[in-house]
């Protein structure tokens, strides 16, 4: 984090580019989640800005948030962070006393910045907290099916693996679903996401089996539970997650295996999708083509991919997401405890009102 801060302050002269900062933050720290990166970017923005009044600050924040949301193809995870930060600012500023509207603005700003940093640090720590909560779910002799490249799930599994020093106090096995779509996008030659976790787990003595998505239904009979990560937890307790999570959820429900979601509470996002096609992102998963269309496309070739107007940028297929409705989820393991899906809305309401 220190490096990124110095990196951006070096570029002091030119106007602060929130999108670039956000992307840079995400790239520089593999452990950073989207909401946290967004908050960090906003904190950096406030450090850079010369605003001297509250309304100016709020205005700046709003504008850059909107800009950031527009420029990122999948703003769901990110908006959890920006909303949270905005809410935090408002509540802080509404407090009576020195830090309230009557107080010294400079003091308020330094206070915000310090606390913003602290918040980021704590948010990173929350992964360990979740691992502590979730450890109890992994029993001796159980088999866990998981997917995607969630860092929280990885942290949880690894924590369970190196329990109490010795090699794997809890003996469990992992069935890792490797996505086929995630491969061919930014880095076509890279291994599918999750391989790193697989290797780390095998290192720790956990037997891991990797299966393709098509084998989920086949393998679920051997699994005891499903644990998945999430990009965002929405208001009704459902999750927005890597494409393929929804079908695992449906299968788990059909077969009668518990389906747990591991997510930090800063991923709770104020969003209420009614179904798969109600997400505020544009992704072209289903595409109907005839032979003619394909011929047409191959003629034009390149511009088809970057035909974005001024509204939402399209999400590439490898990063596509789906929505898992709450009734498929058994429980959410978060840093504020293990919650039922319906408790999520309670948490969100507590934050927002």
């Amino acid at each position: 984090m220190a490096t990124t801060t110095s990196g951006t302050t070096a570029a002091d002269a030119e106007p602060f580019d929130i999108v670039a900062t956000y992307n840079e933050l995400l790239r520089s720290d593999p452990d950073l989640t989207m909401p946290i990166a967004a908050i960090e970017a906003l904190v950096l923005l406030l450090t850079q800005s010369v605003s001297s009044t509250i309304s100016e600050t709020m205005d700046l924040l709003e504008k850059s948030t909107a800009h950031l949301k527009k420029s990122i193809p999948n703003p769901i995870g990110l908006s959890a962070g920006t909303d949270l930060f905005q809410r935090y600012l408002i509540t802080t500023l509404q407090r009576p006393g020195l830090l309230g509207p009557a107080g010294d603005f400079k003091a308020i700003r330094t206070h915000l910045l310090t606390n913003g940093r602290l918040f980021i640090r704590r948010a990173k720590e929350s992964r360990h907290k979740i691992a502590d909560f979730g450890r109890g779910f992994i029993r001796d002799g159980s088999t866990i099916l998981t997917n995607g490249g969630s860092r929280v799930v990885a942290a949880l599994l690894q924590k369970a693996a190196d329990e109490e020093g010795g090699p794997s106090a809890v003996r469990f096995r992992v069935i890792y679903v490797l996505s086929s779509t995630a491969q061919d996008c930014d880095h076509p030659n890279e291994e599918p996401e999750g391989m790193e976790t697989v290797r780390a787990l095998r290192e720790k003595g956990v037997p891991v089996s990797t299966i393709p998505e098509s084998a989920v239904a086949y393998s679920l009979g051997k699994a005891d539970m499903v644990i998945v990560g999430a990009e965002g937890v929405v208001e009704n307790g459902g999750i927005v997650s890597r494409m393929g999570t929804y079908q695992i959820g449906i299968l788990a429900k059909a077969i009668g295996k518990p389906f747990y979601v591991v997510a930090e509470s800063h991923k709770f996002v104020r969003l209420y999708p009614l179904g798969q096609y109600d997400l505020p992102i544009k992704q072209r998963v289903i595409e109907f083509k005839s032979a003619e269309d394909i011929a047409e496309e191959s003629k034009q070739d390149s511009p088809a991919t970057s035909s974005s107007g001024d509204d939402q940028i399209e999400l590439p297929l490898c990063h596509s997401v789906d929505f898992t409705p709450p009734h498929l989820i058994s429980a959410l393991i978060t840093d504020s405890g293990v919650l039922t899906p319906s408790a999520v809305s309670e948490e969100l309401i507590k934050i927002w009102f």
Partner: protein, 676 residues
């Protein structure tokens, strides 16, 4: 006059049949009679003293007759004339109605049927009574309460004319719909407050509540109060009760009127706009929206989506007997939308190509159930259990003022039964084709073998009547006209309120946060959570009233009063008048008397704690990370007193902090005693 006057004297049965049968006056002929009823009321008013006397006599006779009947029949008093024997009011009304009708020489079905009963004798009475009970659907037996009021007579002198008029409008569904009822009630109460003067020897906060409860009682006899009305009344009473008795009457009244205005604005008007706005966002081009009956907020939503240039179709499902969907269809068509209108039997057909279902609500219960016009559940369930494929999202638009802490598991325990005669369809008088049929009155007479003193009403001649017309005399036929049903939470995907979109499971949480709910103890959250036993000790230590310093020193020599946060002995605590619990006698059942005290003080503390608690933000905001903890602590002192743990653990790791809200401390002494 001559006919109806001796009737009660000679015939104990008289009040009973008339009571039930006055209702057909308004219901059998929906449109024209609605106008008739108030008209006849108006005609009643200028009665001569002689007539009044006669009427009073008739009333007395009726009462006596009923008492006699009860003795004869040996049946519990509550069974037959719903209202209960000690209330003189309800029996009066039908009686008077008949009298008035007869006076005017009007030949109404009432008078006609009344005369049937007239000829019955003692044993037949009991039989008749049994028959009346037969007409109640057994499962819903508990819901047949008082008959709805039919006139404004007997409303009591305290009832304001505006409220009298409103009552009738409510009864006749002129004012219909949860929001409309709530708003009109509040406006009527504003009138009441405007014309109110505090009598000598009482104070406004104490007497006005009492005065209002007369109005409320009157309204509830016209039609059972809706949840929204109840919540609004509760809020108003809260506002009245928290008025400082020392404020001059005029300014207190102005404040209350402003309160009503802002309540309507905040809870209904603006809330509706916000809901319509956010619900409209859920409508997309090409949608087919299904809605049931006529909800004002759904109407606003659809119109605002239409105004945003969205292209979608609306399918309205409607049902008898109120046909609320008709006015919705009319409004939407005139706004330029494309409408399909069908009745409830065509639900599956309408649902077939629907993409979303929008529903209004009468209330949302604490278990997430949607309590709405009967038929709603059918629509919601068919949306979720479509024979073909994908479920359709069911979206409910509902203001938070309609949330209740009640729980509804089915539609049977809590419901409202409307007059079953509403179900009897009568063709409109200007219908010209149809088989002329002999009137029902002679038919009834023939059956009973008694002659009538009245001719059948002229309008009924030559009109086909519904086969249900005679349902009251047809054996084994019961009509059920319930008003509401409950849609279980699992059939509702989303509730759009002015506070945002929620899953139905979040209803109790939101309800708990609204100040109205704090009136009742059941729904209020306790706000001191002690995670460790040590904290409980600490709290106890803090709240322990010390009557004398010696006693204190005996027990704990080292803990001198300086280390313990100071507090007053109970008797030294001055509780300002506005914080004192209101006189229990002034309260009606809307506010459970004891809890009112809690509610009022709690409601005073409107400022909500900002919570970002997942990440320990509370302590962050308190400035722990910054070192300016002291400043923040003192600064935030106005809202909540923070006191550091003194006796028990040092402020090391978690920093044991007991938070006691300011409002809690005001009531301090009293509650402390309770806690111990």
């Amino acid at each position: 006059m001559t006919d109806s006057d001796p009737a009660p004297v000679a015939q104990p049965a008289k009040p009973q049949p008339t009571e039930t049968q006055t209702l057909p006056i308004r219901d059998s002929k929906p449109e024209p009679t609605k106008k008739d009823a108030p008209a006849s009321d108006g005609a009643e008013k200028p009665l001569t003293p002689g007539e009044l006397k006669k009427k009073a006599k008739a009333e007395k006779a009726a009462r006596r007759a009923r008492e006699k009947l009860e003795k004869d029949g040996g049946a519990p008093s509550g069974a037959a004339p719903g209202p209960g024997a000690n209330q003189a009011r309800p029996p009066i009304t039908p009686k008077k109605d008949t009298a008035a009708a007869a006076q005017k020489g009007q030949k109404t079905p009432t008078a006609r049927r009344g005369s049937v009963a007239l000829a019955q004798s003692g044993s037949a009475l009991v039989e008749q009574k049994k028959k009346r009970d037969d007409k109640k659907v057994a499962v819903f037996g508990h819901l047949y309460g008082q008959q709805r009021r039919t006139t404004i007579a007997g409303g009591g002198k305290e009832v304001h004319p505006a409220v009298l008029a409103l009552g009738l409008q409510l009864r006749d569904y002129v004012v219909c719909g949860s929001s409309a009822r709530c708003v009109s009630t509040m406006i009527a109460f504003k009138r009441v407050i405007e014309t109110y003067t505090t009598p000598m020897g009482t104070s406004l906060p104490r007497h006005l509540t009492n005065h209002l409860s007369h109005q409320i009682t009157y309204l509830s006899t016209c039609r059972p109060l809706s949840i929204s009305q109840g919540n609004a009344i509760r809020a108003l009473k809260l506002a009245i009760a928290s008025t400082d008795p020392s404020t001059p009457e005029s300014s207190a009244k102005t404040t209350l009127c402003e309160f009503i205005d802002s309540f309507i604005r905040e809870k209904i008007t603006v809330a509706d706009q916000v809901i319509a706005e956010s619900a409209a966002q859920k409508i997309q081009d090409g949608d087919v929206i299904v809605t049931f009956a006529g909800s004002s907020i759904v109407k606003e939503t659809l119109i605002s989506a239409h105004n945003q240039g969205k292209r979608f179709r609306v399918s309205i499902i409607d049902s008898r007997p109120l046909f609320e969907g008709k006015s919705l269809a009319r409004a939407l068509v005139s706004a330029g939308l494309e409408i399909q209108y069908s009745l409830v039997h065509a639900t599956t057909h309408a649902i077939k190509d629907a993409t979303k279902v929008f529903l209004g609500a009468h209330a949302m219960t604490s278990n997430g159930g949607l309590y709405s016009r009967v038929g709603t559940a059918l629509v919601a369930m068919s949306a979720k259990e479509r024979a073909s494929g994908v479920e359709i999202p069911v979206i409910v638009c509902c203001e938070t003022v309609k949330f209740t802490d009640r729980v509804a598991l089915d539609s049977i325990v809590v419901n409202e039964i409307a007059d079953a005669d509403e179900l009897v369809v009568n063709p409109s008088p200007d219908q010209i084709t149809g088989i002329p049929e002999s009137d029902d009155a002679p038919a009834v007479d023939n059956k009973k073998g008694k002659p009538t003193g009245h001719e059948p009403p002229a309008w009924s001649n030559g009109i086909t009547k519904s086969p249900l017309t005679d349902w009251k005399t047809t054996p084994n036929l019961q009509l059920l006209n319930i008003m509401y049903d409950v849609t279980p939470a699992e059939y509702v995907d989303m509730v759009i309120t002015e506070m945002g979109s929620l899953p139905p499971s979040a209803v109790p949480i939101v309800h708990r946060m609204t100040p109205i709910s704090k009136m009742s103890k059941d729904s209020s959250a306790s706000y001191i959570h002690m995670h460790q036993p040590r904290l409980a000790d600490l709290f106890e230590e803090f709240t322990r009233p010390h009557t004398s310093p010696t006693d204190h020193n005996d027990r704990e020599p080292q803990a001198s009063p300086t280390t313990i946060p100071s507090f007053l002995p109970v008797e030294d605590i001055y509780v300002a008048p506005q914080y004192q619990p209101p006189n229990p006698e002034d309260e009606d059942d809307v506010v459970p008397d004891q809890h009112a005290a809690f509610g009022i003080t709690r409601a005073m503390d409107r400022r909500r704690e900002a919570v970002w608690r997942d990440l320990g933000l509370e302590s962050l905001v308190n400035g722990q990370g910054n070192g300016d903890a002291e400043a923040t602590a003192t600064a935030s002192g106005s809202g909540s007193a923070t006191l550091r743990g003194s006796g028990g653990g040092p402020a090391a790791a978690g920093m044991p902090v007991v938070r006691v809200k300011a409002a809690g401390r005001k009531m301090g002494g009293r509650r402390v005693v309770g806690l111990r």
